[in-house]
Symmetry: D2
Subunit: 494 residues, 4 copies
């Protein structure tokens, strides 16, 4: 189960040429979004004065490997956007790397998006029938070609009028996307009207450099990012989220809302609840609260729903630690570490021999034997997808002397596919579609196993929302409940 | 400050051909030692019957990248040794990769070692003056050529008599080395008489495979490893440490001590105390105790030596967590997470702009703002070397709202170079040689900063030793105290 | 001065599935066109039954490196097209590799072309103003998007009607292109109405396999290629050239002319004369004659225009050898080898030291000293571009003892840029724009230097044409005379 | 059949620091020897003042790829040696790249050699029994360790005395080797006493740089090389060959013979005759004559031995061209080109389909159809090894219309293995051991086929020797006759 993408944008304020380190900042901002996609990345910058002066660097791989000083040096300009991407193997090609740059009648346009167009097939058909060829199967190219064609109410002699084109596209495509679109000297930050994918704004503030308070240290600007987690490290302060359906324009003069597309009824709003559970970095802020806090609440709620007598509460490092601390506090069982993670076990590795396979022990972890011996353990994990890893971990703990191992999952069973940008295995591969909690406990060798309830999850993530809404609503739980926001397009079936 | 190497060996018991998965096991065993060296790795296996049938695969890089199914398939045999290595840039060449294989008058010999020969210059001179050329500057080649030349008391018509040759070498080279030497159908596991580097034995036990309990699942054998941390994952059980000065022979018939070289007085025994503090994986066992437990004791001792009033005890993930838990328990201040680590920040990265440099914020971490705001924090780290990273972390916490940040280091100030296999910066680069604790606190912006005392460290690591010795002694603390085991060879100066 | 591209296509005849080795054949056919471009290559094959079953493999580099058995195996189908490409550094990117595949309302379309659209800027403007974005600056994408949009006279309910779309494109774009376009189960082979770039047809004939005359050895099919040189090696026979302005359709039923666009007056026909002089492989056939024969005639004509008393006629291997044999026969001076070429001198190499630079000797060649000593040499080369290489060669021959060195160039002075697919240095870099023949002789240290006349060159290439036209006409000599076919588009200036 | 190696050395004369471009010169000199080995290469330079200042750069691959400006810049010094190497796949490893550098009691020593020690097994045994380990199976390491051990008559207090050590080694190892050995500020150039492998000296002369005649242009020095072919391109003049058994010392003061080891009877001298036939570049000088001239004589002799009525004499480019010119002159049949070589057909390529295999046409060549049609052709090749390539070429010519194809091979049948540095297929693979000339003619589809006789070959290469010896003798013809120089060591068998 993998998140598809992260988007980032930055623009310098004031008179150009500025001394703001746009390319470095975008690069660093993207490193903070690397957990949202590790297969390819790209940055496009603009010198602002003309639509021809785009600098582009993108490719397969991690940001650290793709961007070196030479690459950064070539990314000239006062504004830019970046993208980091995960993708299924089939489409894992250089040609699909974002940001996507397209040359239009009004100059070059760069687009980066997070999400997946649920009605891409009908949008695609429409573009093709307009006599336009598409060279990839990517949503980015589809969005780009959609924006290239001015809608009827846009008069050509008014110039490109990108906000009107973006609004037109948004009426055609309900979800799911958080977009950054760059043209000449402006960046448009756009979130679909359901608010499915996150997007937030930040302000670049002057650096307090004491006596040497000159030049770039006083520079100001604005950033837009899928998550706020990297803001401090680039000298930016979190401002607010882009609202669902909102089109925000970033320019040298600051940011302003240029349009808000009509939103669905608040009950049908659909922020992806798995951003809280799994995708986002724990120091990011959504809806006025830290993701870590929401995870801690999930752990507390889980302890209330499924308490158990035990000697120690622990987690599978590093995914379930926040929830484990929450569970420990609520249940008054002490938290302790029981597993040591080997950071060097890579994804591609040798086939284990039959003996090693039968051994069935987690190679990625070591047991802290003296913490485990003779203990009854509650082990918290954030979610279960295929259910392959938990069994070997339990075996490892038992081999190290644990007397009981109780599994508590800080999210409900994962049962349905996602059509909004998250890569979930097929229904057949999801263990929750094959075994219920008790069957799974037996299958993996746990003394007990329980999932957080859907209601419990929603309650937990809303507990500390800054702007608590009296009516609890607004999350996409499609992968847990099969209820898709806006209904499922007819072209999709499962 | 980096550990230099890890060594590993494995041998199948019983009648050959065995079905034991020697190459896979060594590979997996080395992955568990990867933290001891990531620059190069190698495996040599032997088919046992003849000294000519060695299979070799080695190269630069991480084990996951070097070893694939094809490579493993070519590593035929019933026994083998492996090595994973860190090295300074200068000598970072393929030609220096271990295990080192040398053709002798008695057939091929493979050698892997962890450590550094303190008197390598005089050993080298002796070999050269014997009319032997050396093609590298590595200790491995030096050890190999030393073993090639039979000492006077070895009669050639008795065959090679490797134990006698190894003993002879050990009398010439006091420290520091843990060695695995393979010839034909035997592996010799050797630890220098001061016991400076760790080395332990494990037993491969039959896999309980239920009804399908056949073939390789019943196979048995023996392993030798720098650390015990990977034993469970390969189906082995920890047996004991190789004793200082001991030569253990592993063969198809099991293991036996073939010789023990005279050890120095017990007060002068010198097991590297930084294996406890920093190098070893926390689930490894030394002297009958888990490394994690020793680190927890260091944290407790630190709390006793330098208590402070605070709201939360935390650690720099992931290095100081065990000590932080110990400090929290001893001081009754709750443990809580305050930093989120970005796993994707690589070593080689773009030069930060001036603005970013002045910003001075830790790019590798995010602050868990809502856990930090308004809090007095005790932050535990395991050690301080150059002192570059702690300042930006403190700044990050303050920017996120921490009211006080107190630094506690779970080891004493690092002040002296190591000549026994550990890569420590020059004395000039070690911050402890430039600033005392209070000066450093001011320099990094901490409200206070304190180091664990040398006595406290020794006390802590001895607290839970299984075979507690009435007289506290036996550790190499040269990098902390400047007292080198066996004295410093005249050829070394600092 | 470099040729831009080679195109190739192949289709199996008869009922599918055929056993014809389409992918191997295209691959081998492209190896025979490798001299026309070494920077990137690609093959697209179609399974014929549906427009969705395209297999694509393309990338940077030489064919030998790009295509291995695994790649070939994935290129399934009964028909396919290939492309090999040279390009200027700026556009040397994977995204520009051909064949270009585009998804249209009628399914996938693959395009490969050789040439350059002289009015690409106005074609581009038209496409952009239609509301279509272009993601590259390549002519291939421009051609593709042009074909995607049906012209007014194409009724959509007749299906795609590619011939009509191609004809429409041809009326908009006068030159220069030789195209292969693949859709579903057909390949269209197209040559611009001026006949600027070559393109010819071949028939795949059954292999005479004696007693084992079965299966694929009896397979038949058709090929289309920029040059005929590789036909024998893939079991094909040369049939004829595609006529200027002709659209040939290749299908499982054979080939047929589906349309011929109006050609300019025969005097204005413009086959690139440098295909004879330099680009084509000497065993290719154009206009009924072997390129080698035309080059031999150029040498004969050169001997008639600029005879000289000498002991030996030779060439710069391997470019001027055919002309040298012609010169030798006409002048009755014996041909002999004087230079030995080092095949291993690569393009990118170390900077020579000052001493080596002053030495000024050709590193790529060795002098056959005993053939040269005391001799008067006539040295033939096919053309002079920047004039950098001939001086060092003359120095090498003089150092080896030559008494006289007379240079004869088997083509006229190169003075103007090409806008039709040939990469020629700027006018300033062309030595013929700086020095006349006598000045150049002095500059390079030759005893004399002469160029073939334009009239002589045209006469020579027409000497052995199979269908000799009474009026001598039909070649593009723009780079020699500045007379561009169809005039120079206003958007171009030099 | 492949030559194993090329060696090169260069030293600057006069007072150091010199401005002579030693590293560039060696690099360029090795490019001129690249035909002698393309698998790996290396250069070692010395700053002369101390035996510690060696700079080394070596690796797998061609010189152009291994050496760039950065690598050259690091190769500091006034003298250096280089090596280019072919090797069988098994030993194709970085560790075997030459020059081999070894640290001795007298400082570093670098060795590069061309040849193969026929008694390497007994030399090896002797070294091992001396208590020395060998880490490779290479002759270079064996030579190095042999030189490391001073012979009894060398007194240690006289310093290393390399000439005495080299002489001692030469008495132990009869053949085959041409060596360059560098220590501190001297290079020793050594040729075995049978003169099996070539080695020659050259003088670096001042560059005539006109008015700017300063600095490095006046520099002088000495070079030693396997062949003289690259001398002109680096500003050197051919001086003479190193004599069989001679040890030449090159120093800043020039060159001098320091010793000459006793040579065998002149009748038993054994210069490899295949250097003339095949290995050497045609512009190299051996025994006072140009290799090209010897090959031309071979062609003349072949015409005398096996004349045939024909219309055209041609060659397989580029291997048989010199002999073809000789055959044409002697027989008065005109020389003409019939084949066009595709330079881009690489070694590793896709598996041909069955159809292509049955087609049996040479993919590497195109036929010049109009030169071939209706013609009787004599086709000259320099040698036949496995006999795989000639058949397809004949088929190509016949398909293009040749009426008769007569094959003439400018060397005798190849029947025996070589133990002196040449890689020849096994006896079973050599076609001459399976078919006689007439059978081979039928097998490959030739109208006739004939080999030059052994006597004819010897006569031809002696025809133009500068110092014609009244008694015809002195060549190693082992691969043709089975008569090995010095007899075959007992340890070898075939």
């Amino acid at each position: 189960m993998t998140c598809e993408c992260g988007v980032f944008g930055a623009i310098a304020c004031g008179d150009y040429p500025t001394q703001l380190d746009i390319a470095q900042m975008i690069c660093l901002g993207m490193v903070a979004l690397q957990h949202r996609g590790q297969e390819s990345a790209g940055i496009v910058t603009s010198q602002g004065k003309s639509s021809k002066n785009f600098s582009v660097h993108k490719g397969m791989g991690m940001i650290n490997n793709l961007f070196n000083d030479e690459a950064i040096k070539k990314l000239k300009g006062n504004l830019g956007i970046g993208h980091t991407r995960y993708s299924t193997a089939a489409a894992s090609e250089v040609v699909n790397c974002q940001p996507f740059v397209v040359h239009t009648a009004h100059g070059a346009l760069a687009i980066a998006h997070n999400g997946e167009l649920v009605n891409c097939e009908s949008l695609r058909r429409e573009v093709l029938e307009r006599g336009v060829g598409l060279s990839t199967h990517s949503d980015s190219e589809l969005i780009a070609q959609s924006l290239c064609c001015a809608p009827e109410d846009v008069s050509e002699h008014d110039g490109p009028n990108w906000p009107a084109r973006i609004r037109h596209f948004m009426t055609l495509a309900p979800l799911s996307y958080s977009l950054v679109v760059m043209h000449k000297d402006k960046i448009y930050a756009v979130r679909d009207s359901y608010g499915n994918r996150p997007l937030c704004l930040g302000k670049i503030v002057p650096v307090d450099a004491g006596h040497t308070n000159i030049g770039e240290t006083r520079a100001e600007g604005w950033v837009v990012s899928s998550e706020s987690c990297g803001f401090l490290s680039i000298g930016a302060r979190y401002v607010r989220e882009v609202e669902p359906g909102e089109i925000v324009e970033l320019s040298r003069n600051g940011y302003r809302t240029v349009d808000i597309v009509e939103r669905p009824d608040y009950k049908r709003m659909a922020f992806c609840i798995f951003e809280y559970v799994y995708f986002a970095r724990s120091d990011s802020m959504f809806e006025g609260q830290m993701v870590y806090s929401a995870r801690l609440q999930c752990g507390r709620q889980l302890a209330r729903e499924f308490p158990i007598e035990a000697d120690i509460v622990s987690s599978v490092p590093e995914s379930g630690t926040a929830a484990a601390h929450g569970y420990a506090r609520e249940s008054d069982v002490p938290f302790g570490e029981v597993l040591c993670k080997n950071r060097y076990v890579g994804r591609t590795f040798i086939q284990p021999s039959n003996r090693l396979r039968k051994l069935g022990v987690a190679k990625k972890f070591g047991a802290l034997a003296q913490n485990v011996e003779g203990k009854r353990i509650v082990l918290i994990d954030d979610s279960i997808v295929r259910g392959n890893t938990i069994g070997p971990i339990i075996k490892l703990l038992r081999d190290a002397g644990a007397t009981e191992v109780h599994i508590r999952i800080a999210s409900p069973p994962l049962q349905y596919p996602c059509y909004m940008g998250i890569n979930i295995p097929t229904r057949e591969e999801l263990i929750a579609n094959k075994l219920n909690a008790d069957q799974l406990a037996e299958h993996v060798g746990a003394d007990s196993l329980a999932y957080l309830s859907v209601e419990g999850l929603i309650k937990a993530v809303q507990m500390n929302k800054a702007d608590v809404n009296p009516i609890k609503s607004g999350y996409c739980t499609a992968c847990l409940t099969g209820e898709y926001p806006g209904g499922l397009p007819e072209e999709l079936s499962w």
